[in-house]
């Protein structure tokens, strides 16, 4: 392993605690990742030393705070390999990023009857915003089906495309199944049809290197709190020309050039899409999270997490009656499963009692649960601070619970 596991454990004091007298094992990373001390301190340090409302201030603290905030924009652009810093819009989370595009892209470019494609495995945050636009604007929503393994049906996708298809909005990695979608391929197919593409990277940026120029996606979104950063932070990457053409989303301070009751002109990118005082302390924390990840190295993280994930699935499968939901060829870090005759809620409740935090239920992806005709799953999701030892305890925990229900 290329990184210092002991040091990493020290960066996350939350992991070193007992739950009902059992050592905590945190396998709910896909819901939110834990936050290293470096991030907690970067954010606290804002409030302790230079907190001040950013932009337009002439005094020293305000300049310092503005520079720290804008510097995170640069580091985020670099993290995604965006061409321009101003293609990075800060939001409060992936959900808001998608809502922003849903409102501004659809209202700028789509007419009644135009079509948007999503998939059957999307998170509610990449379904409902489009459903709302369907209602408000009369656009149509098409759905790419998923096979038994939890993989997209690419042929079906190609058949859904029409001259009216203006956008494909699709997840990079499924939060419920762990499937890594072949997004480069999907983007190419979509672009050949003149269709723009939004990638929901909420479950991707923390696991694999993303290069928006190489992918050539039009929009890419993620949440800070799943990338070891603070809650209330999110990112929207958008291509310059699209963002420039799009009407603004929210109105307020920051996003204007001049305001009068007769005529208001909007600010340039990125400010046009950042109405109101941003969560600058949170964003500065997100910057520290990106630095933290870069220091460990995303490649190292990917390799280690893949190892964990493979190990977990192989060990789980030794339990009779356990079946893994989502068996795509390309998967990462998320393992959803069910044990015969045990309701996922019961499994989650009992694992909690032995210190193991997993998520249960539909994972905000009801359509794919309905498709698989299951009420939900038990989901264990891993991060680089987890270990094989923890997986061993987890697997024996699942066995124990199974016995109790026998």
């Amino acid at each position: 392993m290329a990184f210092d596991f002991e040091k990493i454990k020290n960066d996350f004091p939350i992991l070193d605690q007992k739950i009902y007298n059992k050592q905590l094992i945190y396998f709910d990373n896909a819901a939110t990742s834990q936050t290293p001390l470096q991030v907690i301190e970067a954010e606290a340090n804002v409030y302790k030393t230079y907190n001040s409302n950013i932009h337009r201030g002439v005094h020293c603290l305000s300049n310092k705070c503005t520079e720290a905030f804008e510097d995170v924009r640069k580091r985020t652009a670099k993290f995604l390999n965006a061409r321009n810093n101003f293609e990075i819009i800060f939001t409060k989370g992936a959900t808001e990023s998608i809502n922003l595009v849903a409102f501004s892209f659809v209202n700028t470019f789509l007419n009644k009857g135009d079509e948007i494609i999503i998939s059957e495995m999307e998170h509610h945050s990449n379904i409902v915003p489009w459903q709302l636009m369907k209602q408000y604007k009369g656009i149509a929503l098409k759905i790419i089906p998923v096979n038994e393994q939890g993989e997209l049906n690419i042929e079906a996708f190609q058949n859904l495309l029409s001259p009216k298809t203006k956008l494909l909005a699709i997840t990079h990695i499924s939060n419920a199944l762990g499937t890594i979608n072949p997004i480069k391929k999907l983007i190419d197919i979509a672009h050949n049809n003149g269709t723009k593409v939004l990638i929901d990277g909420a479950q991707a940026v923390q696991h694999i290197k993303v290069d928006v120029q190489e992918l050539d996606c039009d929009f890419y979104v993620f949440s800070g709190h799943k990338l070891y950063g603070p809650t209330g932070t999110g990112v929207l990457f958008g291509k310059e020309d699209l963002l420039n053409s799009m009407i603004p989303y929210q109105g307020g301070g920051e996003m204007i050039q001049t305001v009068s009751f007769e005529k208001t002109t909007f600010n340039e990118l990125p400010y046009k899409f950042e109405a109101g005082t941003p969560n600058y302390a949170g964003i500065i924390g997100l910057g520290a999270a990106i630095d933290y990840i870069n220091e460990i190295g995303l490649d190292n993280i990917t390799a280690y997490e893949n190892e964990l994930h493979k190990y977990a699935e192989s060990q789980l499968l030794t339990i009779p009656g356990l079946r893994i939901i989502g068996t795509a060829k390309h998967k990462t870090s998320v393992t959803s499963f069910l044990v015969d005759n045990i309701h996922p809620y019961d499994m989650g409740m009992m694992l909690d009692k032995i210190g193991i935090a997993v998520r249960t239920g539909h994972h905000c992806a009801q359509p794919i649960m309905d498709k698989f005709k299951i009420p939900g799953t038990v989901r264990a999701s891993f991060a680089f601070y987890n270990s094989k030892d923890e997986i061993d305890s987890f697997v024996s925990g699942v066995r124990k619970v199974k016995q109790m229900f026998a």
Binding site: H343, Y345, M349, M404
Partner: protein, 139 residues
């Protein structure tokens, strides 16, 4: 038996468990043993859909007493459902309305009855009181 006597009985029963596993094993047992939910009552109108698990609740007034029958798809929830039915079923609407449910706290299962749990139990308790109210209004 008075409602509060039943509550005391349950508290007594649970006082013997010193760890979580024993308590939950007992809940699972209670869940497994709960029957009497008539399939003809498995109707949408009797369904309380929590985000995590489902609860079915049926209520009838027989000889001035409310008879609750209930079910859940999750066994631990069903165990708690069994306790709730045991406490309130077979009492008059007024007795139910006047009663204060305290056993849940005392046996350390409060967690399961917080609004944010969305396992259907909070709604079930509300619904039981509403039935009692409806039946008492009818009387």
């Amino acid at each position: 038996m008075e409602i509060n006597d039943i509550q005391e009985d349950i508290i007594e029963e649970f006082s013997g468990f010193d760890d979580w596993m024993d308590k939950y094993s007992y809940l699972i047992e209670l869940g497994n043993d709960l029957d009497g939910f008539d399939e003809k009552n498995r109707l949408d109108q009797n369904l309380i859909e929590g985000c995590q698990s489902k609860v079915w609740l049926n209520a009838e007034l027989t000889n001035g007493k409310v008879i609750f029958t209930a079910d859940s798809d999750a066994i631990i929830v069903k165990g708690i459902v069994a306790l709730l039915v045991r406490v309130w079923s077979n009492h008059t609407p007024q007795e139910i309305l006047d009663n204060d449910l305290y056993f849940i706290d005392r046996i350390g299962l409060k967690d399961h009855l917080t609004p944010t749990r969305s396992n259907g139990l909070v709604s079930m308790v509300k619904q039981m009181k509403l039935y009692a109210l409806a039946f008492s209004a009818k009387n």
